[in-house]
C-alpha cells in the first residue's frame, strides 16, 4: 500500500508527452500575460474629468492642452500624464474666524484684531471667495492657492483698515473696504500669475474688540437717551402750548364776559334810573318824600330801636349801652 502511493506521483511527473505540452501551455500563458500587461498599460491612459473640472494634458511633463469634462485619453506613462483641476467650485478663505462646522464660528482674536489709522483697534472678520480662472497657471505657477489668497488678503485688508478710522470702518466705509480689498487682492494675484479670480469679498462681523464693546454700546445707548430726552421735552412742549393757548383764550373770554356784564349792568341801572327819574320829574316833591319815608320804614322797621323823647336822656342811654358791652 505504501509503495503504490509513492509510485503514483513519480509516474505523473515523468509522464509521456508531458514536457512538450506544458511548454506550449507556458508559451501561450506568457503571451497572454504580455498581452494583458500591454492592454493594461494602454488602458491606463484613460481618465475621467468631472463636470466641474478640467484636465491638463502634459507630454513628457510639458503642458500641451486642456480637455473638458468627460472620459479622456492620454498616452500612457511616461509619454503623457494629466492633472485634473477643480474649476467651477468656489473656494474660500476665512480671515479672523474659522467655521468649526456649519453655523458655528470661532473668532480668532490675533487674526481679527487690526489697528486702525486713528490708533484704535477693531475686530474684522472677512471671507474671500475665489475660483480658478486659468487652471494651467494655478496648477503650474503656485504651490498652494489657499495660503497665497489668505496671506495676500490679510495683508491688503490690514492696510485698508489701517488707512481708515474706526468710526468709518464701523459705519460708512464697510463697503468701500471690501471693494478695495477685492480689487487690490485681484491685482496682486494677477501680478503673481496665479490664475485665480476673486469673486467676492464679504466683510462679516466688524465690531469693536470685546474688551471695549460695552463702552461702544454705551455710546449707542447715550444716543438713545439723547433722543428720549429731546422727545420728552418736545412732548412737554406739545402739552404746554395748547394748554397755554386754552388758558389764554379763557382769560380773554372771561374779560370779555366781565366787560359785557359791566356794560349791561350799567345800561340796566341807567335805564332804571332814567325810568325812575322820568316818574320823579312828574311829581318831584311828593315822590322824594315818599321815597324817603319808604326807606325809613324799611330801615327802621326791622331794626331794634329805642325812642327817647327827652333830649337829656340820650346821653344816659348811651352810657348804659356802653357799660353793657
Amino acid at each position: 500500500m505504501v509503495d503504490v502511493k509513492i509510485e503514483e506521483p513519480e509516474d505523473n511527473f515523468t509522464g509521456g508527452g508531458g514536457p512538450k505540452k506544458s511548454f506550449l501551455w507556458s508559451g501561450l500563458f506568457v503571451l497572454l500575460v504580455i498581452v494583458a500587461i500591454v492592454a493594461v498599460y494602454f488602458l491606463s491612459g484613460f481618465f475621467l474629468v468631472g463636470p466641474d473640472q478640467v484636465g491638463l494634458i502634459k507630454r513628457f511633463g510639458k503642458y500641451t492642452n486642456t480637455v473638458g469634462p468627460g472620459l479622456g485619453y492620454h498616452l500612457p506613462f511616461p509619454f503623457e500624464s494629466v492633472v485634473v483641476v477643480d474649476t467651477s467650485n468656489l473656494r474660500k478663505q476665512e480671515i479672523g474666524f474659522r467655521t468649526v462646522r456649519t453655523g458655528t464660528y470661532q473668532t480668532l482674536a490675533n487674526e481679527s484684531l487690526m489697528l486702525t489709522g486713528d490708533g484704535n483697534i477693531v475686530s474684522v472678520e472677512m471671507v474671500i471667495q475665489y475660483y480658478v480662472g486659468d487652471p494651467a497657471k494655478l496648477a503650474f505657477n503656485i504651490v498652494d492657492d489657499g495660503d497665497i489668497v489668505k496671506f495676500t488678503t490679510e495683508s491688503v485688508l490690514r492696510e485698508e483698515v489701517a488707512s481708515s478710522t474706526i468710526d468709518s470702518i464701523l459705519t460708512t466705509e464697510r463697503d468701500t473696504i471690501s471693494i478695495r480689498t477685492a480689487e487690490r487682492v485681484q491685482a496682486e494675484l494677477e501680478r503673481l500669475g496665479t490664475g485665480i479670480l476673486v469673486k467676492n469679498v464679504f466683510l462679516q462681523e466688524v465690531a469693536p474688540p470685546k474688551q471695549v464693546i460695552a463702552a461702544f454700546d454705551d455710546v449707542n445707548s447715550a444716543k438713545q437717551d439723547k433722543e428720549k430726552l429731546i422727545y420728552e421735552a418736545e412732548k412737554y412742549k406739545n402739552d404746554l402750548i395748547p394748554k397755554a393757548e386754552g388758558e389764554a383764550a379763557q382769560l380773554t373770554r372771561v374779560a370779555e364776559g366781565y366787560a359785557q356784564e359791566r356794560i349791561l349792568n350799567a345800561e340796566g341801572e341807567a335805564d332804571r334810573f332814567l325810568a325812575i327819574l322820568q316818574e320823579y320829574e312828574k311829581a318831584a316833591e311828593v315822590t322824594r318824600t315818599r321815597m324817603y319815608l319808604e326807606t325809613l320804614a324799611k330801615v327802621l322797621g326791622e331794626a331794634s330801636k329805642t325812642v327817647v323823647l327827652d333830649q337829656s336822656s340820650v346821653l344816659k342811654l348811651l352810657d348804659l349801652e356802653g357799660s353793657e358791652r
Binding site: F60, N141, I230, T252
Partner: protein, 285 residues
C-alpha cells in the same frame, strides 16, 4: 514551438524598460533641474520636457519652480520713535536659477533660513527708520516695495527671486494693546457723556422755549383781557355818567336811600327828639 520567440522579446522589453530611463529624464511643468556629472554642474534646465543624460554618470537634481510662501515668524521691531510693533511678514519667492541655487545652497531648508535672515533684517532696518505712525498707517506699500527690492537684490546671487515681501500683521504687543483698549474705553465714555449732556441741553432748551412761549401767550392774553376789562369799565362809566348827569341831585338822593337801606338795616337806633321825624311824632303833629 511557435511561441518560443516570446521569451527573448519579453526579456529585451524588460531590459529596455530598466535601462532606457537612465538615458532620459522628464521635467514637469512645476520643476526645473540641474544635471550634475560627478558633482559638477553640466546643465541647468528650466523648461519642462524630455531630456537625455548619460546614464550612471550624470545625476539630476530637480527643484520646484512654482511660487512658494515663506511665512516669517512674528517679530518685535522698534520704530524710530522707540515704539514696539509686532510684525508678521511673509515672502513670496521662487527658485529662478537652479545653477546658482545649487552652487550656493545645499538644500531648500538652508534657503529658507537665508530668506528668513534677509527679509527679517530688512524689515527691521527699514521700519526702524520710520516713525510708528508711518509703519502702522495704510501707506506702507512703498516701504514694502523697497524692502522687497533690497531682499530681492540680496537673494539674486542665490538663484532665488523674492517676488514680494508683505506685512500680514502689524500689531501692538499685548501690554500696549491693553493701553489702547483703555484709551478707547475712556474716549467712548467721554463721547457717551457728551451725547447725554447734549441731550439734556437740547431738552432743556426746548422746555425753556416752551415755557417762554406759554408765558408770552398768557401775558398777551392778560394784556388783552385788561384792555377789554378797561374798555368795559369805561363804557359802563360813560353809560352811568350819561344817565346820572340828567339829574345829579336826584341820583345822589336815590343812591343815599339805597346806601341807608343796605348799610343801616341791622343797627340799634336811639331815636331822639332832635329828629324831625320823632319831634313831629312826640308833638303829635
Amino acid at each position: 514551438m511557435k511561441y518560443k520567440f516570446i521569451i527573448p522579446i519579453a526579456i529585451v522589453v524588460i531590459v529596455a524598460a530598466v535601462v532606457l530611463p537612465s538615458f532620459f529624464f522628464i521635467l514637469d511643468e512645476t520643476e526645473q533641474a540641474v544635471v550634475l556629472r560627478f558633482g559638477e554642474i553640466r546643465e541647468s534646465i528650466t523648461e519642462a520636457g524630455l531630456y537625455t543624460k548619460t546614464p550612471f554618470i550624470d545625476s539630476v537634481r530637480k527643484f520646484d519652480k512654482r511660487i512658494q510662501i515663506y511665512d516669517v515668524d512674528a517679530e518685535r521691531i522698534y520704530s524710530r520713535d522707540k515704539k514696539t510693533i509686532l510684525t508678521d511678514t511673509f515672502a513670496l519667492w521662487r527658485i529662478v536659477d537652479p545653477r546658482s541655487f545649487v552652487e550656493t545652497m545645499k538644500s531648500e531648508q538652508i534657503a529658507l533660513t537665508r530668506i528668513d535672515d534677509i527679509v527679517y533684517s530688512h524689515v527691521r532696518n527699514t521700519f526702524g527708520k520710520l516713525d510708528y505712525d508711518d509703519i502702522i498707517s495704510g501707506q506702507r506699500t512703498d516701504v514694502l516695495d523697497e524692502i522687497t527690492k533690497l531682499a530681492a537684490n540680496d537673494m539674486k546671487d542665490f538663484g532665488i527671486e523674492i517676488i514680494s515681501v508683505r506685512v500680514k500683521r502689524a500689531d501692538l504687543p499685548d501690554e500696549n494693546r491693553n493701553a489702547v483698549f483703555e484709551r478707547m474705553k475712556s474716549e467712548r465714555m467721554q463721547e457717551a457723556s457728551l451725547i447725554r449732556a447734549e441731550g439734556n441741553r437740547e431738552a432743556q432748551k426746548l422746555r425753556a422755549e416752551a415755557d417762554k412761549e406759554a408765558q408770552i401767550m398768557m401775558a398777551t392774553a392778560q394784556k388783552e383781557a385788561d384792555i377789554i376789562i378797561g374798555m368795559g369799565d369805561a363804557q359802563a362809566l360813560t353809560i352811568y355818567a350819561d344817565a346820572y348827569n340828567r339829574d345829579p341831585d336826584f341820583y345822589e338822593f336815590m343812591k343815599r336811600l339805597e346806601v341807608y337801606e343796605e348799610t343801616l338795616a341791622d343797627a340799634n337806633y336811639i331815636l331822639g327828639p332832635a329828629m324831625d321825624f320823632i319831634d313831629k311824632f312826640s308833638r303829635g303833629e
